[in-house]
Amino acid sequence: MQFFLAEGARLGLGLIGVISLVAVNALFLIWMERKVSAHIQLRPGPMEVGFHGALQTIADALKLIGKELITPEDVDKLIYLLAPIVMFLPVLVSFLVIPFSPTLLIRDLNVGVLLIFAFSTLTVLAILMAGWASNNKYSLLGAIRSVAQNVAYEIPLLLTAMSIILMAGSFQPSVIVSQQAKVWNIFVQPLAFLLFIICGTAETNRAPFDIPEAESELVAGFHTEYSGMRFAIFFLAEYTNMFIVSAVATIFFLGGWHGPFLPPVVWFLLKVYALIFLMMWFRWTFPRLRFDQLITFAWKILIPLALLNLIVTAFVLKLVR
């Protein structure tokens, strides 16, 4: 009983911490995205609310909260309402196992990495639900695209993840991080890092892989019909997904919390935000791929490379050990 109480308290604290982190992180990331895009495009970005527009996203969030929640006619109501929740829940769960520092993690599961990958697949289901339930052709097209894309990109993502897991010999995030105390995996597995970042960008539906919500083709893709807070949750989930993908990449390749002088948490967050910056940089540089090219790219380039990387890794490991 006492075990459950202690564990319950830990989980409860963790949940509160995670929810506040998700909210603050999303607010910060949206501001960051605006600033990064603005400066790439020679403009200042938001400047009015707060210092350099730092509070702009809070104002926007308030606006979104105040907006009417429109439920269009003829939608599949239950699914329409459930989709944002299904989108958001797995995102929360993933935070359970992310080690921010040797001590700051909620649950050090021995299948932690798998948990993140397993729950991230639910995002696809949520997108499909949203697109289907909206009863809108643009939404449905976006949802179908999203599914094909995510299925195609999950394979190379898991394959590259496998090569790292092979090296570490464990699915436990903290073990993977501790093994990089001396040399970060990015120096051992540069190709895997590259593939992982590409697939991660695709998994989070970000440009140049943002075809499920390609605004010039599908208006807003799967969330065309969502308004107000429901739309905001999709937005929140998108940015939190970015954070999770970057966090996993940090755990896998950038040595997690390792780094001199600064406290581990700071190092971890620094690395995560650096990767997020990279993803934003992609978004504001590249045009969007076409749907079939995207799939071709995954099958013809990413998967062979990931397989090759995995085989070479296994081979080298066998030789070394």
């Binding site: 009983m1 459950f4 319950g8 599949d76 699914i79 599961l109 021995n110 299948v111 798998l114 948990l115 990958f117 397993a118 729950f119 697949t121 639910l122 696809v124 289901l125 499909l128 639900m129 289907w132 179908i144 599914v147 094909a148 995510n150 299925v151 999950e154 897991i165 092979l166 570490a168 010999g169 464990s170 699915f171």
Partner: protein, 173 residues
């Protein structure tokens, strides 16, 4: 009975409820998309049961493969099926009865089996879920299953490729 009201017990009830409820939606709902979602919910519950059986790895795989991949694939298939605005054929009581009887029979057989089996406590299994162990098992104890699954997947993939090739006749674009 009292242990059902502990934290663990409550979560167990929840998971069983999810599994059963999902299963009922999966067979009972008239909207085919709802059926898939019910299936996903049910499989999610099954993953939870695996957790209770102290197999987190299997639980995660359940979610990753069944919820994440299979259900999505089914959704894909749905997109190719009859449009939903078509009036659905009415349910025939005889069919319903038959299905119920069949399911009941399977349940009875399974229950009898469960009753008869002498269950070994789970503690006898190791707690080691490292990649090496899993790999070892896959190539020794479960080699046949592993190979069989690979074969099935290969056949499925070949079939998919053949279907895709003949399907639309848009190879040129």
């Amino acid at each position: 009975m009292s242990e059902l009201f502990s934290l663990a017990g409550l979560s167990f009830l929840m998971i069983v409820g999810m599994t059963l409820g999902g299963a009922f939606i999966a067979v009972g709902a008239r909207n085919i998309f709802h059926n898939v979602l019910g299936l996903a919910l049910s499989l999610f519950g099954v993953a939870g049961i695996f957790l209770f059986l102290n197999s987190p790895f299997l639980a995660m795989m359940e979610i990753l493969i069944y919820v994440g991949a299979i259900c999505i694939a089914i959704c894909f298939a749905i997109m190719l099926s009859e449009p939903l605005y078509r009036p659905r054929p009415p349910r025939k009581p005889i069919k319903l009865l038959g299905a119920g009887l069949g399911a009941g029979l399977v349940f009875v057989v399974l229950a009898a089996l469960v009753k008869k089996t002498a269950w070994v406590p789970a503690a006898a299994r190791s707690d080691d879920w490292s990649v090496a162990t899993i790999g070892h098992y896959l190539l020794t104890k479960y080699a046949l299953i592993f190979e069989a699954i690979s074969l099935i997947l290969l056949v499925a993939m070949l079939g998919a490729i053949v279907n895709a090739k003949n399907g639309r006749g848009r190879e040129e674009s």
